[in-house]
């Protein structure tokens, strides 16, 4: 299976268990680790002389894991899934965090330049400006001022200002 964490993607396969070890293949490299379950539902995972205390659960389609006190949120990337956030010019402006839409600074049909602020989001009393990555035209505004939005919510859809390239761009192939 392919797992995405942050901007990185990894291919992970559980090869099997035997009495001593769990065998996995990660990005082509095979690895044997010991796994000792704990009463709290977690386990001790050990390999290469290091020992990690792990916990984990599924959450709304994502997989959330703690290694020691560090958190990881993975998304399982299925083959054939579109990945709209990594194109040459992002066709959508999404909320990088949950928060409140403070200001919407564009309307449908507006031409915008690279770096121009489109939406100002407030989260935990800090303001974050969301800007266009490149010149574009505003296709659709999906939120209004005062609205609460979740992480990842699409706020504004854009059309590239330059002659439209193929929708299955190089960026998207990379993302798989």
């Amino acid at each position: 299976m392919k797992l995405r964490y942050g901007t990185g993607e990894h291919e992970v396969e559980l090869l099997g268990f035997d009495a001593d070890a769990i065998h996995v293949r990660i990005d082509g490299r095979e690895l044997a680790a010991t796994l000792d379950p704990l009463a709290d539902g977690g386990a001790i995972l050990a390999f290469d002389s290091r020992r990690f205390r792990i916990l984990g659960a599924r959450r709304k389609g994502a997989i959330t894991v703690a290694v020691g006190s560090s958190n990881y949120d993975f998304v399982s990337v299925e083959p054939g899934t579109r990945s709209g956030r990594r194109g040459l010019a992002a066709p959508e402006i999404t909320a990088p965090m949950p928060g409140k839409v403070l200001r919407v600074m564009v309307k449908e049909g507006d031409a915008v330049t690279a770096g121009q602020t489109l939406v100002v989001l407030e989260a935990m009393k800090m303001e974050t400006s969301l800007a266009a990555e490149s010149a574009a035209t505003v296709k659709r505004v999906l939120v209004s001022e005062g609205e609460m939005v979740d992480h990842g919510a699409v706020l504004v859809e854009l059309s590239p200002a330059a002659p439209a390239g193929p929708s299955d761009s190089q960026g998207e192939r990379e993302a798989r």
Binding site: M1, L3, Y5, G6, H10, V12, E13, L14, I22, V24, I26, L31, A33, L35, D40, G41, G42, L45, F47, D48, R50, F52, R53, I54, L55, G56, A57, R58, R59, I63, T64, V65, A66, V67, G68, S69, S70, N71, Y72, D73, F74, S76, P96, M97, P98, G99, K100, L102, E122, A123, M124, K125, M126, E127, M148, D150, H151
Partner: protein, 501 residues
């Protein structure tokens, strides 16, 4: 003398600080009333109090900042005193006036003192009159005046809200070219955060330390200073790590700072618990502001001085005289565990606590309102808990903190614990090379990369996924596990679960 005995305390706050205040109020024999927004109906502070009142919908402006609703909740529940905690209404003089007008006791300074100290301009005046050194600066939102100040004092300069504190609305301006934008944005943030768009501009110190003095003032004119806290490790002017005593801090400078803080509190007629903040630059220090309330990092002072600062606040509010305070002992260190993703520029995180593993043992205190099932939303600030370690020496405490952070896990809410472990374990922190630039200098890109830990995470994720693929072994399903997966109250009709009271 406005003070008198009171019997029932309303806590005008939420989260870990509401719980912490309720704990002490119960210990002193007071009845407690929690307030909550619709988003917090199931929260831990609601469960811990003797009574609880809904004050409005999730948005803070309609609930935890809703003065009328909070006063009404106090009246309705028979509370005769209000503790504001920190944040929210804790430094709003108009809230204190409303509490006074309702005939209730406010656990904090008088309204006029709060108003004076809450305004950076008048606070500076008091400091100057009390011979407390201040950083060069002026109050203005005017671009021309700001440019003149910048030209004479030299860049970088700091633009901040004249009202309020906590780093909100603060901007560092590196050159005159950025000044216009900065003034506009800061004024907007100041207006929206504090309802007061006035700005203050001052000389920005390049690598200062943030050191502050805890003070207690009773209503009989006595002011006590309970040592210092070094809070230099900050991100965007928000403290992340605090310690006491401040390392590499001479007794001469400490004495001078304590004297200055005491003069400041006395000059302001300060009562109850407050903090006088300074920027320390070498052995020179400058008055920054007074936080006219309990501070987030107050526990490290409590542990060193063997006192309960909330209990002291309650005694002062009852008109009692300050008692003897023990000499400080040992060291204490606090890490703020925030719901933020250090791997994604510390963007706020939300979620429900799926699993919680808390640290413990000698010299470990973890103040939190978290429990399995508690939801962390985007409505309020993301402080999940404060991990406080104490011991005989700084190095002992530092190692204890590393060990305690290793024990802590909050599955379901991405948080700063793993990153703070790196900070505390870093050589720079071990050597106490503290400045407010610490994180930019030593962790410019956030957490360091640990490829083995990432591999462990990938394996863990694959195991979680495997469960979904249907490898359940019925033999493994014993009675105890089955029970754990049952929680009867989750099965109640929805209206029951979210009903207000």
């Amino acid at each position: 003398m406005r003070a008198r005995k009171f019997k029932k305390l309303l806590i005008a706050n939420r989260g870990e600080i509401a719980l912490r205040i309720i704990r002490t109020a119960r210990m002193t024999g007071l009845k407690t009333v929690a307030i909550y927004s619709e988003a917090d109906a199931r929260s831990t502070h609601v469960a811990a109090a003797d009574d609880a009142r809904l004050v409005g919908p999730a948005e803070a402006s309609k609930s935890y900042l809703n003065i009328a609703a909070i006063i009404a909740a106090a009246k309705d529940s028979g509370a005769d005193a209000i503790h504001p905690g920190y944040g929210f209404l804790s430094e709003r003089a108009e809230f204190v006036r409303a509490v006074d007008a309702a005939g209730l006791i406010f656990v904090g300074p008088r309204a006029e003192v709060m108003a004076q100290l809450g305004d950076k301009i008048s606070a500076r005046k008091i400091a100057t009159q009390a011979s407390v050194p201040v950083v060069p600066g002026i109050e203005t939102a005017d671009l021309r005046a700001a440019r003149e100040f910048g030209a004479s004092a030299g860049y970088p300069i700091l633009v901040k809200a004249a009202a309020g504190g906590g780093g909100r609305g603060m901007r560092v301006v590196e050159s005159a070219a950025n000044l216009g934008d900065a003034l506009e944005t800061a004024a907007h943030e100041a207006e929206s955060a504090f309802g007061d768009g006035r700005l203050f501009i001052e000389k920005y110190l390049a690598r200062p330390r943030h050191v502050e003095i805890q003070v207690l003032g009773d209503e009989h004119g006595t002011v006590a200073a309970l040592g210092e806290r070094d809070c230099s490790i900050q991100r965007r002017h928000q403290k992340l790590v605090e310690e006491s005593p401040a390392p590499n801090f001479t007794q001469t400078t400490r004495d001078a700072m304590i004297d200055a803080a005491t003069r400041m509190a006395q000059a302001a007629g300060y009562t109850n618990a407050g903090t006088v903040e300074f920027l320390l630059d070498g052995s020179a220090f400058y008055f920054l502001e007074v936080n006219a309330r309990l501070q987030v990092e107050h526990p490290i002072t409590e542990i060193r001085f063997g006192c309960d600062l909330v209990a002291e606040q309650l005694k002062i509010a009852m008109g009692e005289r300050l008692g003897a305070i023990s000499d400080p002992r040992g060291c204490a260190l606090e890490c703020r565990i925030n719901a933020e993703d250090p791997g994604r520029g510390f963007s706020p995180a939300t979620g429900a606590v799926i699993q919680l593993r808390t640290p413990g043992g000698p010299g470990v205190r973890f103040d939190t309102h978290l429990a399995q099932g508690v939801e962390v939303g985007a409505y309020y600030d993301g402080l999940l808990g404060k991990l406080i370690c104490s011991g005989a020496t700084r190095e002992e405490v530092r190692r204890r903190m590393i060990s305690a952070l290793d024990e802590l896990a909050i599955v379901g809410v991405t948080n700063t614990a793993g990153f703070l472990r790196e900070v505390i374990a870093s050589d720079a922190f071990a050597r106490a090379e503290l400045s407010t630039r610490f994180l930019e200098e030593h962790f410019p890109t956030g957490p360091h990369h640990d490829s083995e830990r990432d591999t462990a995470a990938l394996i863990a994720a694959a195991l979680v996924a495997k469960d979904r693929l249907g490898s359940r072994d019925p033999q493994e399903s014993d009675g105890a596990r089955d029970s754990i997966e049952h929680s009867p109250w989750t099965e109640m009709p929805k209206f029951e679960l979210w009903r207000t009271r």
